[in-house]
């Protein structure tokens, strides 16, 4: 990948990656640190990027994932004063929550992408569990309309998840 493409990828994806880092680390400064490190790593490894294997976006998420996992390892060890070495690199229990956090972030991002109209319906009926009749009354539309909007809202979600690289 030429250097310019890494800079281009920064412009295209850094906002989303930063959002994910904020969610994962719960801290803006640390999120900045993670995203900066992610792109420096991407820069250094740019010749190894293979579009046959996955998209540029997926590649960046994979790098960020490792950066955040490393930061978690470093930080969790600090207070206890355990030295950092190579023997403790595998913390399997960390893996699962991380994958889950990443997927949760994709779902959140998908919800942001589907637009207010779809989002409103999905949020009210699927996330808040409000009865269709109540939502229909609030919006001044027939109940059947809410049903069909749930259908189109979920379809939009599915498309957005696919766009975000989610494979069912």
């Amino acid at each position: 990948m030429p250097g310019e493409q890494v800079r281009e990828a920064y412009r295209a994806h850094s906002g989303e990656l930063f959002g994910f880092a904020c969610r994962s680390l719960g801290d803006r400064d640390r999120a900045e640190e993670a995203v900066q490190e992610c792109f420096l790593k991407a820069w250094r490894a740019r010749d190894k990027f293979d579009p046959e294997i996955g998209s540029e976006r997926t590649w960046l998420y994979a790098i960020l994932r490792n950066v955040i996992a490393d930061m978690g390892r470093t930080d969790s060890r600090r207070p206890s004063g355990i030295p950092l070495d190579d023997s403790g690199d595998s913390l399997p229990s960390v893996e699962q929550p991380f994958e889950r956090a990443m997927l949760a972030w994709q779902v959140e991002e998908a919800l942001r992408r589907i637009g207010e109209r779809h989002r409103q319906i999905v949020v009210e009926t699927c996330l808040r569990g409000r009865p269709y009749a109540e939502v229909a009354a609030a919006l001044g539309v027939p109940e059947g309309t809410i049903k069909s909007r749930v259908y189109y809202g979920l379809r939009a979600m599915r498309d957005a998840m696919e766009e975000l690289g989610y494979e069912s």
Partner: protein, 226 residues
């Protein structure tokens, strides 16, 4: 598409979420038994719907709000690191690389604060200015340069010999004696390449206004003048 089929279709979202009345659900169940197309759609929407369980209920109210933004100079800082590495190579190879300290915990688990006084007042500073730290623990070296930019100053820091992963916070000190944050970096070291990586940061202060550079990485303080 039969009218029946179409009506069923638009119920598939509510079906997937378990929101239909028993009668409506039965109607959908009967249809998808014989209609592979609707069956596939129903299953796929059910899977999409199940992903919604991952959303933290505390976030629901903020889904329409914009995401937090990084600090204003963040883009510039990152972009500065995405430059042709040839420009940085000479400095990287100027001194022999030292091997990272063994994992004794002597350095990296404590905060390091480095104060660099940049010969205040004398001499011209139009060009970039290099710095080197003295009086550091054995095996540790820090040097780098300050480069004037159109707005503010670029800061490149080369650290060697700290424990990889050590977090370093960089500040500049101006005439007011106040510490102005210039960014953070983690000390990185490639064991394969026996090479450390320079950190590229920046500050909005002009080079001529910077009296000293401070790097904190924990609770221990290293100090050096130039």
């Amino acid at each position: 598409m039969s009218p029946d089929h179409r009506e069923i279709r638009e119920n598939l979202g509510a079906w997937a979420m378990g929101h239909l009345s028993p009668e409506e659900r039965e109607a959908v169940d009967r249809h998808i038994e014989t209609c592979p197309e609707c069956r596939a759609e129903a299953d796929s929407l059910k899977q999409t719907g199940s992903l919604l369980e991952l959303i933290d209920p505390a976030l629901i109210g903020s889904l329409s709000e914009p995401l937090p933004n990084p600090s204003p100079d963040f883009d510039e800082r990152v972009m500065a690191g995405l430059r042709d590495p040839e420009a940085r190579k000479p400095r990287r190879s100027r001194r022999p690389w030292r091997i990272a300290l063994p994992a004794t915990g002597a350095i990296a688990l404590v905060t390091v604060a480095l104060v660099l006084l940049l010969g205040g007042g004398q001499g011209s500073r139009e060009a970039g200015q290099e710095f080197t730290f003295a009086a550091l623990p054995p095996g540790v070296s820090i040097d780098g340069s300050l480069e004037p930019r159109a707005t503010g100053t670029g800061i490149e820091v080369n650290v060697n010999g700290m424990r990889p992963g050590t977090l370093c916070r960089v500040y500049v000190k101006t005439a007011s004696d106040k510490l102005e944050p210039a960014g953070t970096f983690r000390y990185r070291y490639s064991a394969e390449e026996h090479e450390s990586y320079p950190a590229t940061l920046s500050t909005a202060w002009d080079l001529s206004e910077i009296h000293s550079l401070v790097i904190k990485a924990g609770d221990q303080t290293f100090r050096t003048d130039i």
